[in-house]
């Protein structure tokens, strides 16, 4: 399958008065054409910073310190800002968690989406307006004609997020990056938005990077998953591999710590003790070692290598090494011969 985006050994840091926060520490993955890739992780895992690095929207203090982001023939990391502007929002676009802070409260929603078209296309005013109405219909905003002249505050959170999606789709992007787009919404509204995204992806053939902390949303929407922790990718695989052939203790812990609506009650939730590492001074071994119930001496000493379990499944865990002991090792049976 053709890759639309290839990220190789990305390092991104924020330079603060306390020192260098190494938010992304050597992340590599690719996005295939037409797939929905889920990126899962908790706050501070580096998932949003990875997305912001692709878009070069790091803000003050943020800097890519190494690696490349290949989009077609170009490396976005070295592309001059002027040319980046043609890519950003048009060929790669983004939807964020909080639509209210991304919309201008003084301009009607229709005009805001139309501005996108004015910037990136040669459409006439009338053509652009027609396109906006078409986009509103696409994201199921009722009565597009009337809603065109509404201001953001007249919209509910769910409707505003639809406007943001319409804006992101305005120029037929090849890649859509959605960063927790449904986290601030109620579940019934989240359900509506996920259905819209799934339908649009199938109809338009876009490639989507979907960033979330919610494993349920990943299972509903994505075909492949990346699990991030402490600025690194700890596991990558298909939905089935991540959920039923889990090969990293952090993924395992995440899956066990959320109760399922259809699950048994009465049992105790298995929590992960402790909290994520401080990336001002990242651990020298595995970032999860300090919280891992299976950790051995090597785990806090040496960063675990990437172990390939199938063509699509990789994990970074010392327990998968041939030499790792079998006792207290949930992955003893999974260890590949070559590792």
């Amino acid at each position: 399958m053709e890759n639309v985006l290839e990220i190789d050994d990305l390092h991104t840091s924020f330079f603060t008065r306390h020192g260098e926060v190494q938010a992304v520490r050597g992340v590599s993955f690719s996005l295939a054409k037409g797939e929905i890739l889920g990126v899962v992780g908790e706050s501070g895992s580096g998932k949003s910073v990875t997305a912001m690095s692709v878009m070069q929207l790091l803000g003050r203090g943020g800097k890519i310190t190494g690696g490349s982001v290949r989009f077609g023939d170009t490396d976005l990391v070295t592309l001059p800002e002027e040319q980046l502007r043609d890519v950003r929002g048009a060929r790669i676009s983004m939807v964020f968690q909080d639509p209210m802070s991304s919309l201008n409260p003084l301009i009607t929603v229709g005009k805001q989406v139309q501005e996108m078209l004015d910037t990136h296309t040669q459409l006439s005013k009338a053509e652009a307006k027609a396109r906006v109405l078409e986009l509103f219909a696409l994201v199921r905003i009722p009565e597009p004609e009337r809603r065109y002249d509404s201001y953001p505050h007249e919209f509910s959170g769910g409707m505003r997020q639809r406007v943001m999606i319409a804006m992101a789709l305005a120029c037929d992007p090849e890649v859509l990056i959605a960063d927790e787009p449904t986290t601030a919404l109620d579940v019934t509204i989240q359900d509506q938005i996920l259905r819209i995204l799934r339908r649009l992806q199938a109809e338009l053939g876009m490639s989507v990077v979907f960033i979330t902390h919610d494993l349920g949303v990943v299972a509903e929407l994505c075909s492949r998953v990346i699990v991030m922790y402490g600025g690194t990718i700890v596991e990558e695989g298909t939905l089935d591999e991540i959920f039923t052939h889990t090969a990293h203790p952090y993924t395992l812990g995440l899956l066990k710590s959320v109760p399922r609506i259809d699950g048994d009650r009465g049992h105790r939730l298995e929590s992960i003790p402790g909290s994520p590492p401080d990336l001002l001074d990242p651990p020298k071994g595995c970032p999860f070692a300090a919280r891992c119930e299976f950790a051995r001496n090597i785990c806090s000493e040496t960063p675990p290598p990437e172990v390939r379990l199938s063509e699509t499944h990789t994990s970074r865990c010392h327990l998968l090494a041939q030499a790792a002991p079998s006792e207290n090792n949930p992955f003893a049976e999974m260890r590949p011969a070559h590792a």
Partner: protein, 317 residues
């Protein structure tokens, strides 16, 4: 232990004379000692207003609140003072509910001083240390400030503050919503351990239906200021009767990619109507797939359909 009858809370709308936000409109429930009652519903359903009215942060517009046999509905703040230790609250955002200029021992000792159990932080030290250890923090943490802690640790401080007076009832209002998934389970387990040890009664309020179902003995579902269904936690998933509950359950994503976990049908269309002018009759009728004429004219009453399962819907036989 806690009995709430026909609780009503309306808020005036600034600039619009006579207009009111119908935040809570006639909610009735009770909680037994040592029981956990969960309240779920989407934003604007009134669940947090119920919590804040029950502890009398808000004055109820109408209705009755009874705590351990005492009617506290119209007690003055002065009369409430000796009752306060019995009912405490844990808030959503530990960062904003802890005073950033106070050290941990000052924060946790504050209720002790307010209740005149002790006269100074120094005098309360032993009690503070004991409760901090119970929530998994050590005495080294006592002199630190809230910003030096992670979100999960801050919520532990909030829980220590709520529990130091040994309350009978604890209201947890979205107490874990701001926490990371892996930390949520730590806090939930902590709350459950305290319940086992001390027989605390919980009113657990959250929008996360799966978590509410996990921690609660019974679950109440709210929509636009009203309770629409109330039943055993097992029953709410196995046999939901109200169309809103059914839609809500269908909307919860399940962390399981197998085809058997997939649900085809869409959940609930449209947005929440305005609580300033809620729909006549059944408030859910504007989004309900089953709505008939009667739903627009007659307010459905909560009624027991057997085994303590209560539902307010004209379409349930």
């Amino acid at each position: 232990m806690l009995k709430v009858e026909n609780l009503v809370k309306h808020f005036p709308v600034s600039g619009k004379r006579g207009a009111k936000v119908h935040a809570v409109d006639g909610v009735t429930f009770d909680i037994q000692q040592g029981e956990t009652l969960g309240l779920v519903g989407e934003s604007g359903c009134g669940k947090s207003t119920v919590a804040r009215t029950v502890i009398r942060m808000y004055e109820p517009t109408a209705g009755r609140i009874e705590l351990d046999g005492t009617d506290i509905t119209s007690l003055s703040q002065r009369e409430l003072r000796p009752i306060r230790p019995q009912i405490q609250m844990v808030f959503q955002d530990p960062a904003s509910s802890l005073n950033s200029r106070m050290t941990v021992d000052e924060i946790v000792a504050e209720p002790l001083i307010a209740q005149r159990v002790v006269r100074s932080v120094r005098e309360g030290r032993d009690l503070v240390r004991e409760i901090l250890e119970a929530v998994g923090l050590s005495k080294e943490h006592m002199g630190r400030y809230p910003h030096e802690f992670s979100g999960g640790q801050r919520q532990r401080i909030g829980i220590a503050r709520a529990l130091i007076l040994d309350p009978k009832v604890v209201i947890a209002d979205e107490a874990i919503s701001a926490l990371d998934v892996s930390v949520q389970a730590q806090v939930i387990n902590l709350l459950q351990d305290f319940q086992q040890e001390r027989g605390i009664t919980y009113l657990f309020i959250a929008h996360d239906l799966a978590m509410v179902r996990h921690v609660s003995d019974r679950v109440g579902v709210m929509y636009l200021g009203a309770l629409v269904e109330l039943c055993d936690s097992e029953e709410i998933y196995r046999n939901p009767l109200h169309p809103y509950t059914q839609g809500l359950l269908r909307a919860v994503p399940i962390a399981d990619p197998s085809p058997s976990a997939r649900r085809g049908e869409a959940s609930i269309e449209g947005d929440l109507p305005s609580p300033i002018n809620p729909p006549s009759g059944c408030r859910f009728r504007t989004r309900c797939p089953l709505a008939q004429e009667i739903c627009a004219t007659v307010v459905p009453e909560m009624r027991d359909v057997g085994g303590g399962h209560q539902v307010a819907c004209h379409m349930v036989a």
